[in-house]
């Protein structure tokens, strides 16, 4: 499965994540994200509007992406979490680790 992305006028890479981020899909998703973010410069917004399920292996994708970007002084934010996914972020405590926005616009505004 291929993950879609585009770059906004302001130079933010918006990556739309797939519907399930679990142990099975995570390695492939991670590889694709790595390709996109190492290929292009700028901040990254991970859009989760299509993501219905994130397991602990899926959460790792967010962590390693964020660590990689941070070590290169680039910013990352997450937007459009569905309720079920938002709950997973809340339980794991990741709500306080990431900049999370309810809409793409808010996320983009923060990343400029």
């Amino acid at each position: 499965m291929s993950i879609e992305h585009f770059i906004t006028d302001t130079g933010v890479i918006v990556i739309s994540l797939n519907d399930r981020l679990d142990a099975r899909s995570a390695p492939d998703v991670q590889r694709q994200i790595d390709e996109i973010i190492s290929d292009k410069q700028g901040s990254v917004l991970l859009d989760c509007r299509d993501t219905a399920y994130v397991s602990s292996a899926g959460l790792r994708v967010f962590i390693s992406t964020s660590k990689w970007l941070k070590s290169r002084q680039r910013k990352m934010a997450v937007c459009c979490l569905r309720e079920s996914v938002s709950e997973v972020f809340a339980i794991s405590g990741f709500t306080s680790v990431f900049d999370i926005f309810s809409t793409r616009e808010e996320g983009l505004a923060k990343l400029v």
Binding site: S55, R60, I63, K67, I91, G93
Partner: protein
């Protein structure tokens, strides 16, 4: 990738013909040809060029004929496919050649268009064979890795429950095929205090199992120093953050029960809080406390929660393998079903009944669907001596 083909024939004309007919494919590096005049020469060439994909051989040759060469090819460790060139209608030799492992044959005089098709077909077959062999190698390695991870996981789980009259414990872990990295632990910190933990490492296989082993050791070691729950998680978190290149993390729920008073203090590193089944007929999650999964960020502060257990109360700890068990319709088991099940257990609460009952309930729900995460549970019941 250049495909390498060895042509074995005692007639020198064939060499010139092949170089001429395949000149485009040679120029574009699609094919590279090697030539030998008999079977012996061919074997020598194969020894020097182990990456030769295919042998095209005549049958009648001096020194070593094609049929003998075929036998020798079978003894080589490399996967090399052979195609024989035979006289038209020479069914006997063709049969023999096929019996000795030849993949196909072409007849003389050679039709080069047919030869090209035959080469393509042979190389295609070879590729499938090699892919198959590689896949089976990878699979074997994976299976070994999973077995190793499984053994690691089993070896770190405590084997026997502490013998204390004030408590009753029951645990169960059903590992997923590819090992999800769950663990539980319990230990006496001193005469009056029992530590319990349940945890889930992100990721699968050996990396997860290693991280799990490290996490469990650090947690137990730190906990046995007698630190409070918040200090234990903070300390383990900082240790796990050091050189954590793989971005591994572990969610941990850790608590200490004072067996004299029934007071249970807990801290939570991004795990589900425990559920309390109470003698007064309630089933509820312990209040959430601040904290995040361990190994993510250094210097995190955790918040302590506490609850006073009444005699007979039970704490139920679980990992996401339980609530995220999936059935064949891709529905999750979910917290609601778990809570409903637990509410049905209030008549007669025992740790073993709750844990085995929940396991059975989840498995009935999941049916034939394969489960991808470990299912781990721990139940602790408080039953002080003077109350029985």
């Amino acid at each position: 990738m250049t495909r390498k083909i060895l042509v074995v024939d005692d007639e020198p004309d064939l060499e010139a013909l092949i170089l001429q007919k395949f000149r485009r494919k040679i120029r574009s590096s699609e094919f590279e040809f090697f030539f030998a005049r008999n079977g012996l020469e061919a074997l020598a060439k194969l020894q020097n060029h182990e990456d030769i994909d295919m042998v095209l051989t005549d049958i009648n040759m001096p020194e070593m004929d094609g049929l003998t060469l075929l036998e020798e090819l079978l003894k080589l460790p490399t996967l090399t496919k052979a195609v024989v060139v035979s006289a038209y209608g020479d069914m006997n030799n063709i049969r023999t050649a096929m019996n000795r492992g030849a993949f196909d044959f072409v007849t003389k005089p050679i039709d080069f268009r047919d030869l090209e098709v035959t080469i393509d077909k042979t190389l295609g077959e070879l590729k499938a064979l090699r892919d198959g062999r590689r896949a089976s190698d990878t699979l074997n390695a994976l299976q070994q890795e999973m077995e190793l991870a499984g053994r690691l996981q089993q070896s770190i789980l405590p084997k026997s429950y502490p013998v204390r009259e004030e408590i009753s414990l029951f645990t169960k872990m059903v590992p997923a095929k590819d090992i999800g990295g769950d663990f539980f632990d319990y230990f006496l910190i001193d005469e009056d205090h029992l530590g319990i933990a349940i945890a889930d490492v992100s990721g699968k296989g050996v990396t997860a199992a290693m991280f799990m082993a490290v996490s469990r050791t650090l947690l137990r070691f730190t906990a046995l120093q007698g630190l409070d729950v918040v200090a234990v998680l903070a300390h383990v978190n900082n240790l796990l953050c050091i050189d954590n290149e793989m971005s591994m993390f572990v969610t941990v729920f850790y608590g200490i029960l004072d067996m004299q008073t029934g007071e249970f203090r807990y801290a939570n590193g991004g795990h589900f809080p425990a559920i309390k089944l109470s003698q007064n007929r309630t089933v509820e999650f312990l209040p959430r406390t601040r904290g995040i999964a361990l190994g993510v960020m250094e210097g995190i502060e955790f918040e302590e929660g506490s609850v006073r257990l009444a005699p007979g109360d039970l704490l139920y700890l679980f990992t996401d393998g339980i609530v995220e068990a999936e059935n064949t319709k891709s529905e999750f088991f979910e917290e609601k079903r778990l809570m409903d099940f637990l509410r049905g257990q209030l008549e007669e609460i025992t740790p073993e009944k709750v844990v085995t009952g929940a396991q059975k309930f989840v498995e009935e729900f999941a049916g034939d669907a394969e489960q991808f995460d470990d299912m781990t549970q721990l139940a602790l019941q408080y039953r002080p001596v003077n109350n029985r």
